[in-house]
Symmetry: C2
Subunit: 221 residues, 2 copies
Amino acid sequence: MSNYQEKWLEDLLQLTEDTGKKTEKQIRILEAATEIFSQKGYEATSTSEIAQKAGVAEGTIFRHYKTKRDLLLSIAGPILVKLAAPFLLRDFVKLMELPYEKADDFFRALAKDRFKFARENTKIIKILIHEVPFQPELMGQIKRLSSDIVFNRIEKVVEHFQEAGQLVSAPPWRIMRTGASLVIGMILTHLFIAPDFPIDEDEEIDLAIDLLMNGIGNRSM
Amino acid sequence: MSNYQEKWLEDLLQLTEDTGKKTEKQIRILEAATEIFSQKGYEATSTSEIAQKAGVAEGTIFRHYKTKRDLLLSIAGPILVKLAAPFLLRDFVKLMELPYEKADDFFRALAKDRFKFARENTKIIKILIHEVPFQPELMGQIKRLSSDIVFNRIEKVVEHFQEAGQLVSAPPWRIMRTGASLVIGMILTHLFIAPDFPIDEDEEIDLAIDLLMNGIGNRSM
DNA sequence: ATTAAAAGTGAGTGCTCACTCATTTTATTG
DNA sequence: CAATAAAATGAGTGAGCACTCACTTTTAAT
C-alpha cells in the first residue's frame, strides 16, 4: 500500500514525532537555546550562555549535541516539517477538495491553520527566517519540501478551482505566490512588526482573504 | 521656507550623498565587507577575512571604522535612506497625484522603481534583512522612516484614490499592507528564492499589479 | 625641498569561543 | 544492595577573535 516514492517523507515525519526520550536537562537546554537564538541570533549566542540559562554545565550540552550547529539543527529542522505538515498528508488533495466547495473557504482554512501554527512557534520561526539562508541543510530541506511537495499539491488545488471557474486563469504559481505573499505578509506583520496592534484574528484573516480574492480595486466600477 | 519639523530628514539625505571623500582602499574595504557579510552573515564574518579580501592590512579597517559594527552600519545605514528615498521628497504627495490618474499606474510606477532599486542593491538588502532585527540602530531608523514618513504619505495617496472611487473602502493600512506584501513577495521571489527563473520584469510587474487590483477570483462571476 | 598631517601597516594583546575529558553523580536492573 | 551504565560536571585547551599601537609610507600644502 505504501508509496515508496515518498519514503523519505515518512522518515521525516517520524523524525518529528518525539521518538527519543529526553532528559529534563536536555529539554531545558533546547528551551534556553531557542530563547537566546531567537533573541540574539545563532552566531552571536555562546554555548556558555545557553548552559547558564538552562542551569546546566557546559559539557552537558555537548553530551547531547555534538556541535553547536547540531543544537541549532535539532531545533530548526523539525519545525520545518511541522510547518509543511498540512501539505504532507498523503491524500491532501482529496481532503481539500471535498470539504471546500469555494476557493475562498480553502484559502481561509489554510491561512487560519498556519497563522495559529506560526503564533505557537514564533521564536523558532524567527530563528528559521534568520538562519535558513546560511545553513545549507535547512535550505536543502526547505527547497525539497516546498518545491517538490507543497508547490505540486497546491498547484493541483488551484487548477481544480480554475476548472471550476472560481479562479482567474493565470499560471498557478503566480496565483500561489500572490496568496502566499498576502498570508505571510499578514502573519509577519502581526507576529513581528506590530505584535501589540490589537486585532480580531478571524476577522483579520477574513478581510485579507477578501482582498486576495477581489483585489483592492473598487468593485462597483 | 524650510520645514523645520523635517530637519532630521534633510540631515539623513545629506548623509547619503557621498560627502566624505573615500580612499581607494576604503572603498575596497566596503566592497569586500558587503560581499562577505551578504554571503556568510555579519557575525560569522571576521575582520581579518575582510582585510584579506580587500587586499588591505587589518589595521586599515580600524583606521576608518572604529568597530566592526561601525563598518556594518556604514553599509546598512545609507541604504535604508535610499530605500525610502522616493517617499522622502517634500512634495511626494503632489508629485504622485498629478501624473497618475489611475491607482494602477501609481502602484505600478512605485513597484517598478523599487524593483529596480532592489535589483541594484541585492547584497546590501540581504544584509539588511538579516541584521535589522538585531541592530537597534537600524531598527529605530526603519521604524522612524517607515511609520512616520512612508506610511503617512502613502496613506494620503490611498485616501485620495479612495475618494476618487478607484479603491475599495477599507482601512488604508490594510490596503497598503496588501500592496506591500505583494510587491515585496514578488521582489524577494525573483532576487533570492528563484533568481534563475527567467522573466520579463515589466510584464511580471504588470501582472502582479493586476492581481493586486482585481484579485485572484474569477471576475466574470 | 621641507614639513606636517593623513593613510596604511602588521605584529602583538587579552579575551572569549566551541569543544574535551577525567572524574563524579544519578538512574537502572537483577 | 551491588554492579553497571548513563548522565552530568567544570576546569582546561588551543584557536581565533576584535581591536591596539608604534612605526612607515604617502599625500598635500607652503
